[in-house]
Symmetry: C2
Subunit: 317 residues, 2 copies
């Protein structure tokens, strides 16, 4: 059942969402996540009058456990490179960043580093003293500046259950920021899941022939996010497809169905070179600057978004 | 069909294995993997007369792609901590280590480091110079010593298809080492997979109701590994269960069925505290030294294995 314009998302959807949340194990707040978030936002909420905008970036893929004591799970591929890069550019543009990321995905300021940064960024001189290679120093400085300036808070998730609950908490906590809030939903969220109750308690045994699994659809949270959790926030979602033929059509559908301000359409093969920003009025291709070997598509993308976000704020003053 | 003692693994199994390999995409040797491996083993093969033993450690979980252009996959949970720790202790015990690991899992000499080693191991002094925190220096030194001594080669995999093909290449390449070779099979290998041909080419669409999947069993490679790929190597496999009631029984079955020299039985909840080494004659519990806060179960485990491997070599001189 589709929500009518501006109305609540409808009883069928609300039931679906309630059923995911009620079936999920309660969120473990081992690191005082809600309190750390509140302190961070309070800091910028005061500053918001002076113009500090806050973006929540979701990044990396969610997992769907197949067993309650999780040995096996279905994962959605996403390195988290896009979210990490965007975080750096948003901080450069003056935003504070709530970074809601999959554990193990790329973190801001680490993407330019080698795979084994500690081992490869450090070297021994002739006297066996350890030194830092120059190529790694810049990222470390920028990271420490962002942390020292209270411009970055990192909140990790693993499963779809954790992700959905944390997104709700973050979106609701950002509601008081009004139009100064932005949600940049780059995480690769699972479309299908196995409800907690119907999961095997123990590791599925392999001795008994083929394994048949039925997964059900994860209800889309975007409608309720827009209408209830954070109705004034500037909302950007992402659409990834491997089949370019259906990509723009699906991006456009998502834009209208979930009332996003923008949908960023990207194709798996070319996503590091080009994306297409879909709004109600336009389809804007964004390319990386090919004349620069180290350029990325996130820099012009974030520039465009920052510009559209300013317009969105100014049009409603 | 079970192989009779010492015979070939039987035509049914061979067919199953042939079907996995023929359905899989060919291994990409982008980094000259076979050549690097050959050079590494040649080095120690000469040394083998003088007593250099070589262990292949498999580590981390394999993935099973659900789509050919892989967005979603089933993953087997494994941090790779055990394999990485064992690699360090084997090198300390004088072995050369072939480390066949899942990309992104823990690497030797990195487990004692913080999650973001580069950012957290480096600090700025008052003049904004970067320094290395003392707590991180030891690991870096040991890593460089292992690399400089040609005692560690790292070979990364992601999917079950890559893992199985690489394991075959490594085991066959180690065959000339005879009893000086050891296979320490700690990777969490998927039990079920979707044959490449029956996979969706594009991303599975979520609009059309629940998702039904049929996965088939991955044929066990251990029999053919023992009888053909590397018949004299000392073989250790691992059995992980979440249900302690069936653990030892399943470990014992695996020992006999695949003619392992040892099966290390571990339960998900307690695997960092205790494992039980199952051989034909004994069941030996191995604990970490609880009087030492930084101790692990891998140190006494590797000590026991090194001892049993020596006995295995000496009994057949």
């Amino acid at each position: 059942m589709e929500p009518a314009d501006g109305s609540s998302p409808g009883p069928a959807l609300e039931e679906g969402i309630a059923s995911v949340f009620s079936s999920a194990p309660a969120l473990m707040e081992t690191d005082g996540f809600s309190n750390r978030l509140k302190e961070f936002l309070d800091l910028h909420s005061v500053a918001a009058g002076g113009g500090r905008k806050v973006v929540c970036i979701t990044s990396g893929g969610t997992t769907v456990p197949l067993e309650q004591r999780c040995v096996r799970y279905i994962d959605n591929f996403s390195s988290g490179h896009r979210g990490a890069a965007a975080a750096e550019y948003f901080i450069e543009a003056g935003y504070a960043v709530v970074f809601l990321y999959r554990i193990g995905s790329v973190l801001p300021y680490t993407r330019s580093l080698p795979d084994e940064p500690l081992l490869e960024c450090l070297e021994l001189d002739d006297d066996s003293n350890i030194r830092v290679r120059k190529s790694c120093a810049e990222a470390v400085k920028k990271y420490h500046a962002a942390v020292a300036g209270n411009l970055l808070i990192k909140l990790p998730f693993t499963t779809i259950f954790e992700y959905l609950q944390m997104l709700q908490i973050v979106a609701q906590a950002m509601k008081p920021l009004g139009r100064y809030a932005m949600l940049f939903l780059a995480a690769a969220v699972s479309d299908f899941y196995i409800p907690w109750q119907s999961m095997a308690e123990h590791k599925i045994q392999s001795a008994s022939g083929p394994l048949d699994m039925r997964l059900v659809q994860v209800p889309k949270m975007l409608s309720i996010l827009r209408t209830e959790w954070s109705p004034l926030a500037f909302c950007i979602s992402f659409k990834l497809e491997t089949d370019s033929k259906i990509l723009l059509e699906k991006a456009d559908m998502a834009l209208r169905k979930y009332k996003m301000h923008m949908v960023v359409a990207n194709e798996l093969q070319t996503r590091k070179e080009e994306v297409i920003v879909v709004t109600l009025d336009e389809k804007i291709p964004v390319h990386r600057d090919k004349s620069q070997p180290d350029s990325d598509v996130e820099q012009p993308l974030v520039e465009l978004i920052v510009d559209k976000h300013s317009t969105y704020i100014n049009n409603h003053r």
